[in-house]
Amino acid sequence: MEKRVFFKGWWLPALLVAPQLLISFVFFFYPSGQAIWNSLFLPDPFGLKTEFVGLDNFRFLLSDPYYLASFKTTIIFSTAVSVSSMALGLYLAALADRLIKGAGVYQTLLIWPYAIAPAIAGVLWLFMFNGNIGLASYYLKALGYEWNHTLKGDQAMFLVILASSWGRISYNFLFFLAGLQAIPKSIIEAAAIDGASFWKRFGTIVIPLLSPITFFLLVVNIVYAFFDTFGVIHTITSGGPEQSTTILVYKVFSDGFVSQDLGSSAAQSVILLVLVGILTVIQFKYIERKVHY
């Protein structure tokens, strides 16, 4: 789509796009290029010189059991976060959509955690599950269940998934509610007159009509779980115990800044770059299809 009517001249528009282009070059293109470039080199341990190694960094990564383990961790983590927060979001949205009055009140009560930083959400849940003073771990102990996420990898994983999904429910709720409210009531009523029960209607009408929004949310939530949950992981587990919660983006950070393994970190950045690229393309494909409806 293009405008028929426009202003003439070229120096003014050039001036107008200049700030954004400049910032993109300095803080986006140059660093991204740098990441790709660095991924082909191996610095010596003293950082005095670097040696060109081609794709060796990638080859090394893809045979490194820690990196592959981190891949697996990321897949489990992001699937769990996306599915649980979307399921709860849909559940609450479906309930709120049933109300004639009051859906707005519940919306206000449910969406504000969107504003809470993942790192702060991490601190909140860490406090509840703290081994010595946490309320949740205290009652779990009373029930005979030993809670110690600093030693047990599966408990650590459960906690970071819980903390990451919690704040995300708001977002999914909001989109599902908007999606549900966009479904014409007449379709639902027609099905009800034909004798379809609530669950029947939900399964055969509502869910299919929500599928575009569900697909969109799936992509967005995976991107969230890949990157934005850094704060949750860093505050609760720092990737531990024994790397059991080290997701890919956390590994870029810990290899690049903590272990100073720059070649490997750069190669990991490039792999992440490709992954996000693929996710973005999928998302835009979806938007394109939606436009053509």
Partner: protein, 284 residues
């Protein structure tokens, strides 16, 4: 609506209230913990009604830091100011450069317009976390570590806002610009007197989303700021929790957590209408 069974109605509310309780509970506990003494916290279980130390704990957190003997004593007042400067800097910066470039893309034809458009389009794809190491090096080479400029600018480099404004400008009738040109209106005049005022709702929506994005930044300020005077409240809370948690002063930490949550939550709730609209439109 379809059914009007009484029991269904109450079950709906019951289910929603359960959801609301699940959402509220961790924050309520945090609030309680920020109003009691350290002793009340280290002898579990924690009470679930607030105690009487509200003013004491918040004054400590804001101006004095944790009491003697509990690790680093860092008052968070300066950090809240830093967070606010960073959040507002990112918000205003992004809105201004996006408005300008969206205006250029929609209302002008100029050489390399498509190339510029694609260059900006690509930046949509990558969060700063992915290119964190080289971005850090760029900022270090420009001598921008521990500065507001260094905190703000790398996070402005993304095109979401540009696309939102571009899409909105496309929906404005051509008659508007025709009429303006006939009246001898210059491009910048048209931009300032017509385009910006009718974009008010979109600007407000982006303001909420970008403010939250900026306030909640964690990894970038964590790497960028070594000077305690430049830290932001969200990143600093992590350093308040020592690894052996025996010496953590929990009332101060929890008061800090509350202080880190309150500004963005107030903005979301008070500007809910714009926020919901902006979120539903900008992400789709």
């Amino acid at each position: 609506m379809v059914e009007k069974k009484r029991s269904g109605y109450w079950l709906t509310h019951f289910g929603l209230i359960l959801g609301v309780l699940f959402i509220f509970f961790p924050v309520w506990l945090t609030f309680v913990a920020s109003t009691v003494t350290q002793d009340a916290i280290i002898q579990p279980p924690l009470p679930i009604i607030p105690g009487g130390e509200f003013f004491e704990n918040y004054a400590n957190a804001l101006f004095r830091g944790a009491p003697e003997g509990y690790g680093a004593r860092v008052p968070v007042m300066q950090m809240m100011i830093n967070s606010a400067i960073m959040a507002i800097g990112i918000t205003v910066g992004k809105i201004v450069i996006s408005l300008l470039s969206a205006f250029a893309f929609v209302y002008f034809r100029f050489p390399f317009r498509n190339l510029c458009f694609w260059l900006i389009f690509i930046t949509l794809m990558l969060p700063v976390e992915v290119r964190i190491v080289p971005t850090y090096e760029v900022v270090a080479n420009l001598n921008l570590l521990n500065s507001y400029t260094g905190l703000i600018f790398p996070l402005i480099a993304s095109a979401t806002a540009t696309f939102l404004f571009r899409q909105f400008f496309m929906t404005i009738p051509d008659e508007m610009v025709e009429a303006a040109r006939m009246d001898g209106c210059s491009p910048m005049r048209f931009f300032i007197d017509i385009l910006v005022p009718i974009s008010k709702t979109n600007i407000a929506a982006l303001f909420v989303i970008l403010f939250i994005f900026g306030w909640n930044q964690y990894l970038w300020p964590l790497l960028m700021t070594t000077d305690p005077d430049m830290q932001t409240i969200v990143m600093a809370i992590d350093s308040m929790i020592p690894t052996g948690d025996d010496f953590a002063h929990w009332p101060t930490i929890m008061a800090t957590a509350m202080l880190a949550m309150v500004p963005p939550v107030i903005i979301v709730v008070s500007m809910q209408k714009f926020f919901v609209k902006g979120l539903l439109e900008s992400d789709k």
